[in-house]
Symmetry: C2
Subunit: 369 residues, 2 copies
């Protein structure tokens, strides 16, 4: 094997996004043990900063030891028991994954469906809640990385709580890249990924659950059939007890703390605004190339844009040219959108004006426009 020498790709796909140099640098710090007082102090700092990023006071707020999919699984397996009803808003790849996981945990999955790229209205969720009483959980995707749609959330928590259900939200591609206010919006359980708008390497899943949700997990009839992701065990390590559960990834946490520090330095609202501004610049540049967006303007997700592939254009060939000739990564579509869209991510450190300028000009050359 040779020295590892990856090409300097500009990651404008669905994640991982470009990692901030300060994050990578911090990850070279010497490791300390998982019960070292310095480590325990770092865990506290990490939790405090993550609470600020989620805009929550939830005690159980921490990075889970896995990617966003592990966060998704934790958000389902801890709170659903055999036979519980979960309503899943199905409008993209990741909600399908939720259905698959919930089924494995023997929950009764109620699918509310919408075409990929559209979002749910309050009435659609209301009908499902009324037709399937009692409902244990409503699970939605805030920012669908497979479609580029951003789910509006006004009134959802109130409705869901009126029916006694938990409100669970996938925030993988929204945390710190689009407005998300966990406490104010009444979200009971939320998770994200470190490798999207936080600009860290993949491998950690920021997670938060309020006491209402944690009480559900603590009072299960049967133990969660998943030891590694059991929040009732994990909370014993992340609280005063400091009871060893599993060895956290020291180095990933170092980087994650630095990523959160960058969020705090920039300010959450400024960061949301930056993601929005660069996305609007991208939409404008793409429209100038006569390209059209897949999602209607009001529901577009700033960190991830889906663009329709023009008729007669070989979408894979375009991506290959961008990668091989310009070192730029963008992605194609999944499932019903396969071959029909490109996905362009402007996340975290990657959400910068110059990246858009470069991509738009490279696309213009490749498309011959």
């Amino acid at each position: 094997m040779n020295d590892l020498n990856p090409s300097p790709r500009l990651l404008l796909g669905p994640g991982p996004s470009p990692v901030h140099p300060r994050v990578l640098r911090t990850m070279t710090a010497p490791l300390v043990g998982y019960l070292d007082p310095e480590w325990l102090a770092m865990m506290d700092e990490e939790q405090a900063a993550l609470r600020e990023t989620f805009l929550t006071k939830n005690i159980f707020t921490l990075p889970m030891s896995g990617t966003g999919s592990a966060g998704m699984e934790a958000a389902l397996c801890n709170f659903l028991e055999q036979g519980d009803t979960v309503i899943v808003g199905c409008n993209g790849f990741f909600s399908e994954r939720m259905c698959e996981m919930a089924t494995r945990y023997s929950a009764k999955v109620v699918r509310v469906e919408k075409p990929w790229g559209e979002v749910f209205t309050l009435d659609e969720i209301k009908s499902a809640l009324e037709a399937n009483k009692p409902v244990k959980m409503v699970a939605l995707v805030h920012a669908e990385t497979s479609t580029g749609a951003l789910q509006p959330l006004e009134g959802f928590a109130e409705l869901i709580h009126k029916h006694g259900a938990l409100f669970m939200l996938d925030c993988v591609t929204s945390l710190s890249g689009a407005p998300l206010k966990v406490d104010e919006w009444g979200i009971d359980i939320a998770y994200s990924g470190s490798q999207k708008c936080l600009g860290c390497p993949p491998g950690l899943s920021p997670f938060t659950a309020n006491e209402r949700a944690m009480d559900v997990a603590r009072n299960r009839k049967a133990k969660t059939p998943n030891w590694y992701l059991d929040v009732t065990l994990i909370e014993k390590y992340w609280s005063k007890d400091r009871a060893y559960h599993h060895t956290p990834s020291t180095t990933l946490h170092y980087g994650f703390r630095e990523g959160l520090r960058l969020v705090s330095e920039e300010g959450l609202e400024n960061r949301w605004a930056r993601h929005r501004q660069n996305a609007e610049y991208l939409w404008e540049k793409l429209e100038a190339l006569d390209l059209s967006m897949h999602v209607e303007a009001k529901n577009r997700l700033p960190p991830l844009t889906t663009v329709r592939v023009p008729a007669g254009v070989d979408e894979v060939a375009v991506r290959t040219k961008l990668r091989d000739n310009y070192n730029i990564e963008i992605a194609g579509g999944f499932g019903p959108l396969k071959g029909k869209i490109w996905r362009v991510g402007l996340m975290g450190f990657g959400s910068r004006k110059e990246n858009v300028t470069l991509l738009a000009e490279a696309l213009r050359e490749v498309l011959g426009r």
Copy 2:
């Protein structure tokens, strides 16, 4: 929050072990996407090098996206179904964890018990196999990090296979630090951790399963109630299909590849010998301080030594002094060994003569001998 500035601890505890500087340096390489041809080529290299380290030809050989405990859970949840009988050799903390996990997956757990620090004889496992037919799996810990015992394995696979069971082995603290020959020894499923003798940061669990085991997973009656760790989904990403499952931790994999490269450069047998030599030097130095080992010489695990705390000595105070005055981390005992032993790890990059010299002299000063 300030700049992260952890103290330069010498990690001589149970892991994480000191990370080789080349591993940390490699982790600053720019990230590429999870379907980039350069990334896919790296996955192939990583798998080939890991097969050499496990001494196996198993196709399913890869680092799972989690710590050793995730590997343990994957080794159980994929291969056991409701009501299956699993014999667990219980002689330490990590076999207790196996029992807890297997119970959550509704397996019937048969405990074969031995005091912490002892190992199993072939006859003990044979009796359990004969008394509990049919047995689906026998699970043992090769290197018990909580006790310092190394389980001899001669004849075990033959016996276990004669009874039609799978042989599952926890190799968290043995992989590359003590002889381990997966194919030659007939082990069906094995897992380890990146942060022990491989000298990488925590966060990945090297895993291998042969076709006999994989066929069990592929032909389950019910899907594994664990999506994130489902080997039948993971194998589709780590094979020609390259079907996306979850986003791997690019940066951890970069470091892991470098860690495996260091193993290959040193040579596996040389590496085993180095771990053995430095452990023997440690035992000699500790005996010179009138300290005695917890495990009898023939079953001692070179990467992790357990030392008895002398009567009248405050074991926590000694560890605190080593940490605060010498920047050295060693660990205490768990469960029945709490307060009775210290645990000293000499793993990976940490297994070096000078570390032993320093620790022994620091201990001499702290104990006033």
